[in-house]
């Protein structure tokens, strides 16, 4: 029996370490399926998954969609442009209308923190958070943890740095929770304007300068500078950011030779990471993308089991 009993995956913060490990172990099994000639198993046959994306996304949406198809679920994509959202429908009305068509799982990305939680409370189907504002992006943190564990065999006892725009980053928040729960030491850094006050309360240590952080690290997660999310620019110019905070080849010499470099993508080449680092031997960026599919397959599988269990329990209660 699995150690997963949740109807929804809303964030990493509320998960127990055992639940995270259950997902990572299941993902290891799922990864093999993508190496077969016929990359499909029938386990979610007859299940309907709606991918409801209120924000632009290619990688995450495609990754979820491929994961759904490899498990034989039927998936439908709804994005805000071209949907009734652009005609003024509220979020809850959209969700209720979608639910009336009886999907089993809704995967949601939204610019406002807490949107998936709101949907999970109001809807009977399962909800998976694919990113809510600057709050959480649980499947990204899970695939990052999976990638580190796959390469290094463990997470416990490692020192992992997260560098860049921490303030705007749901990836940073979910990663801090996941890595801390699995026993890693987490250092965060970036331009002072991008370090939110109080980030230490999540269990991360602030080391502002990359040069200072690098020698201690087993893994460095470089965050994307989210130019589109910046209200007013928090740094003077792209060139200055690259020079002061970007991960280039020279700066990499400060780190241990076995340092692993990760990035949630999409990368701004030459801004937060130099092309020769992104494409270099220490980079796990492409592994992250491959593993994203396996991790999302694991989440879909485990959530389906828990949801069905809950429905069965309700039926029993109803009959009693």
């Amino acid at each position: 029996m699995t150690a997963w009993a949740r109807k929804d995956l809303l964030g990493i913060e509320e998960l127990e370490p055992g639940e995270i490990l259950e997902i990572l172990d299941t993902a290891r099994t799922m990864k093999e399926i993508s190496t077969r000639e016929i990359k499909k198993v029938p386990v979610l046959r007859g299940k309907t998954v709606v991918n409801l994306f209120f924000e632009a996304s290619t990688r995450t949406r495609v990754s979820f969609e491929i994961a759904e198809k490899r498990l034989s679920a039927d998936s439908v994509n709804v994005s805000t442009s071209g949907s009734s959202v652009s005609k003024g429908e509220t979020l809850l009305d959209t969700a209720r209308n979608l639910e009336a068509m009886r999907p089993d799982i809704i995967v949601v990305r939204h610019g406002s923190p807490g949107t998936p939680h709101l949907l999970a409370r109001r809807l009977a189907c399962s909800v998976i958070n694919a990113g809510d504002g600057a709050h959480e992006h649980p499947t990204q943190a899970l695939l990052d943890a999976f990638t580190i564990r796959e390469r290094l065999g463990r997470i416990d006892g490692l020192t992992v740095g997260i560098f860049g725009d921490i303030a705007h980053s749901r990836v940073a928040r979910s990663n801090i929770h996941a890595l801390r729960k699995l026993g890693a030491r987490v250092l965060v850094g970036g331009p002072p304007t991008m370090i939110p006050p109080g980030i230490e309360t999540l269990g991360a240590e602030v080391v502002t300068r990359l040069d200072e952080m690098l020698p201690a690290l087993d893994v460095l997660i470089v965050l994307r500078i989210q130019i589109e999310r910046q209200g007013g620019l928090l740094f003077p110019s792209a060139r200055e950011y690259a020079a002061l905070f970007g991960l280039g080849r020279e700066r990499l010499l400060l780190a241990r030779p076995e340092l692993l470099v990760m990035h949630p993508g999409p990368i701004n080449r030459g801004l937060e990471i130099a092309p020769e680092v992104a494409d270099g031997s220490s980079s796990l960026i492409i592994d992250q993308v491959t593993n994203g599919v396996a991790v999302r397959m694991a989440v879909l599988y485990l959530i389906s089991g828990a949801h069905r269990g809950a429905a069965a329990a309700d039926a029993v209660r109803g009959a009693a």
Partner: protein, 182 residues
């Protein structure tokens, strides 16, 4: 579990497997293109043992794969517990081969049905054969075994327990009254 009647002890398990190894050789007139695929969680150990006996007898190393059929089961919607999925490892092509599926107990036939579907997704074997340590009857599908260690007539509610050295520290097959679990 209630009082158990022993069906096979360590010697009995070994003899059954040795005989099955000979039967596999006889039926296929050798081991050309024969591969073994064990079904988790005990068929995988039985498959490795069969391969060892085949090597002793013929001097040929037969490839052994492991399969977890959870993702192909037809009873997930009714299962009381959502099973943990374990890895399927078939590190060779099954295309054109004779695949001998190996399982511990043949009961309803539903696991074997799932295994057949799963195997087809890996390629098109020339033929698929089935070897089981125990056939306890009560089939719900038109499936039969090619090689049987021991036929054991059982009541539906009885429980057949297979213990193996690799997982349980002892080789023993026993039958007990109780809720059938398979």
């Amino acid at each position: 579990m209630n009082a158990k009647a022993e069906i096979l002890d360590e010697t009995g398990v070994r003899r059954a497997l040795v005989r099955i190894a000979h039967e596999i050789l006889e039926k296929n007139q050798g081991l050309a293109d024969v591969v073994l695929v064990g079904l988790r969680s005990r068929g995988d150990h039985l498959a490795r043992r069969l391969a060892a006996f085949l090597f002793e007898i013929e001097g040929t190393a037969v490839p052994v794969g492991v399969m977890d059929v959870t993702l192909y089961r037809d009873d997930l919607a009714h299962a009381s517990l959502w099973p943990r999925v374990q890895r399927t490892e078939i590190p060779f092509s099954v295309e054109g081969r004779t695949v001998v599926l190996v399982d511990d107990v043949l009961f309803t036939g539903r696991s074997v049905r799932a295994a057949l579907d799963s195997l087809m997704d890996f390629g098109r074997p020339r033929s698929i054969q089935l070897a089981v340590l125990i056939d306890r009857g009560h089939r719900e599908l038109p499936i039969r075994a090619d090689f049987v260690g021991k036929n054991v007539p059982t009541a539906r509610r009885e429980l057949v327990q297979v213990l193996l050295l690799e997982t349980d520290g002892v080789d023993r097959v026993a039958i007990a009254a109780g809720e059938a679990e398979r």
